[in-house]
């Protein structure tokens, strides 16, 4: 089963991390996902720019383009991993390992309904 592991945290706090801390955590994340990558079960890994760069297009007859989202929530989606896990537990275990690399925020483990490779779609 394919899963998305979604990384949430307060981006204002992460911005206040010293570079060394950021590099360390990213290094640990990469080490943690290496085994699954070696088995060919790691999909795309994404890191997102801050929410201040985001825009929202509201659906409708005439889609409206807005700044934002202006999240009221304390935590923002910072990035995600796509993995192909053999079991639900495996996905949870990886998420737990990733979550253990930092003290704040959370990892959401979300099974995929569909995954379309960009190349396959062309």
């Amino acid at each position: 089963m394919q899963y998305a592991i979604l990384c949430y945290d307060d981006e204002a706090v992460i911005e206040s991390w010293p570079d060394a801390k950021l590099d360390e955590v990213i290094g640990k994340h990469q080490a943690a996902t290496k085994p699954i990558a070696k088995r060919g079960k790691l999909g795309p890994v994404l890191r997102l720019l801050p929410t201040s760069t985001a825009m929202t297009v509201r659906s409708g007859d005439k889609p409206v383009v807005l700044d934002g989202p202006f999240a009221e929530t304390k935590e923002q989606l910072l990035g995600l991993w796509i993995i192909d896990a053999d079991t639900h537990d495996e996905a949870l275990a990886l998420a737990a390992e990733l979550a253990g690399h930092k003290e704040t925020g959370s990892m959401e483990v979300r099974p995929l309904l569909m995954f379309m490779d960009g190349k396959a779609a062309s």
């Binding site: 307060d10 204002a12 706090v13 992460i14 911005e15 206040s16 991390w17 010293p18 801390k21 720019l49 801050p50 201040s52 760069t53 825009m55 383009v65 700044d67 934002g68 202006f70 009221e72 304390k74 930092k102 003290e103 704040t104």
Partner: protein, 432 residues
């Protein structure tokens, strides 16, 4: 967990909001700062074991407020306490606090905190130092180091600045929309000055001052979170990011400025550039151009060119034209002339800067740029005079050295003339 850097980061990022809320509550900067300090100490005791609270800022405000009220009770029974309604809140739980603190209060609080640092009686450098102390929470030692002055001198400056700020009439009522925009403009200007304090540093001290740029960016990000639909704030952040992206490429090994045209563009930080480009595009959609947006668009035009010769000088000319209209200044016209020299030639550029002679006679870059144009049109003797004048006006040894290179080339190479680089990337802040 032995790694306490996450707590530092959480405290640093919560600080503006917490100090600002405590300031509104106590109406006194020292009390607010002291209460914040105490709340931080308690956080350092409690968070490592219990983990971070759900809303660190609310937690700190709550704890800081309790502490501050206790202090006031202890020090003087005569002191007028904040009104009963506020005091009765103290038993409330964190969750209720969070709800009340979010939304609009938060925005005006933080803006106010930044705004009081911009007191008109304070020279710009003191405004910046004060903001770094109060809003960013940098230590006096760190600030002194970044400003290249002694710790005692900086301590004195900040103490004096605080006194001026606190003796002035305080504006704790909620600002109306016009006041708010005015405050925003003043604060944005201060943040850009802060950025430039770090960015304009050259020589051996440049790396010591670089944290000022990082802090300016962090505070501008905060401002943009508070005003997420303000195109000028987007523009300001974009401008800083696009300039900061060039940091490692713009100084050579000895810390001297490398001109934009000569920089190794592969060393530009592409992540910062991408973010800056997105922000400026987003800002321009609002069709409410302002000076930061145009300056960011200028920086973006350079950032988009993979090689110096790919630069879209027509676009740069157009943007300077726009900037001239919004903010007429001979320096901007001088910068525009560089674009003109690229698109129409040095002759046209000389015509453009002719009327600036009087206004910019004491300006290093004017004579440097003029000399380069004169050289391009083959007027070597006049070029030499301009370069000599430029050297006499140079602000730094690096500026003088750069002009001397022109003169050397002028003397050495009379035959195989390589077009000279224009010294337009140093001080005129809109181009480097």
């Amino acid at each position: 967990m032995s790694d306490l850097r996450w707590i530092d980061a959480a405290l640093t990022s919560a600080r503006p909001q917490v100090v600002a809320a405590l300031l509104r509550y106590f109406g006194d900067l020292d009390t607010a700062e002291e209460a914040f300090q105490e709340a931080c100490l308690r956080a350092l005791k409690s968070w490592p074991d219990k983990g971070p609270p759900r809303d660190p800022a609310a937690w700190l405000i709550f704890v800081g407020r309790n502490f501050g009220v206790d202090q006031i009770r202890k020090t003087s029974r005569q002191t007028v306490l904040p009104d009963e309604q506020h005091l009765s809140d103290l038993e409330d739980r964190e969750a209720d606090m969070a709800e009340r603190l979010d939304n609009s209060h938060y925005r005006d609080d933080v803006l106010r905190l930044l705004f009081i640092c911009c007191h008109p009686d304070l020279p710009a450098t003191q405004q910046i130092a004060l903001a770094l102390r109060i809003v960013s929470g940098m230590t006096v030692k760190e600030i002194a180091r970044a400003f290249l002055v002694g710790e005692a001198a900086m301590e004195q400056r900040i103490t004096r600045a605080k006194r001026i700020v606190s003796s002035a009439g305080r504006e704790f009522e909620t600002p109306n929309a016009t006041d708010r925009m005015e405050r925003l403009g003043v604060v944005a200007a201060m943040l850009y000055l802060l950025f430039n304090e770090g960015y304009s540093a050259t020589g051996g001290n440049a790396h010591v001052r670089a944290p000022l740029c990082v802090e300016a960016i962090r505070l501008t990000r905060l401002l943009l979170r508070l005003f997420p639909a303000e195109p000028e704030v987007m523009g300001l952040l974009a401008l800083m990011l696009l300039q900061h992206a060039r940091t490692t490429a713009r100084l050579d090994a000895s810390g001297e400025i490398v001109l934009l045209e000569d920089q190794d563009r592969t060393r530009w930080d592409q992540t910062l550039i991408n973010e800056g480009l997105v922000l400026i595009d987003k800002a321009l959609r609002h069709a409410r151009p302002g000076s930061y947006q145009i300056q960011a668009a200028l920086a973006a035009a350079h950032a988009r060119a993979a090689r110096a010769e790919d630069t879209n000088w027509g676009e740069i000319d157009r943007l300077y034209g726009l900037l001239e209209r919004i903010q007429p200044s001979p320096v901007i016209t001088l910068n525009r002339s560089v674009a003109i020299s690229k698109t129409q030639g040095a002759e046209a550029a000389l015509v453009m800067i002719k009327p600036l002679e009087k206004a910019l006679d004491g300006y290093f870059h004017f004579h440097g740029v003029k000399g380069a144009y004169l050289l391009q049109v083959g007027k070597s003797a006049e070029a030499r005079r301009s370069f000599d004048r430029a050297i006499a006006l140079a602000n730094t040894p690096a500026e003088a050295a750069h002009i001397r290179q022109h003169i050397d080339r002028l003397q050495n190479a009379n035959r195989t003339e390589k077009p000279l680089e224009l010294p337009a990337t140093g001080r005129p802040r809109t181009t480097s």
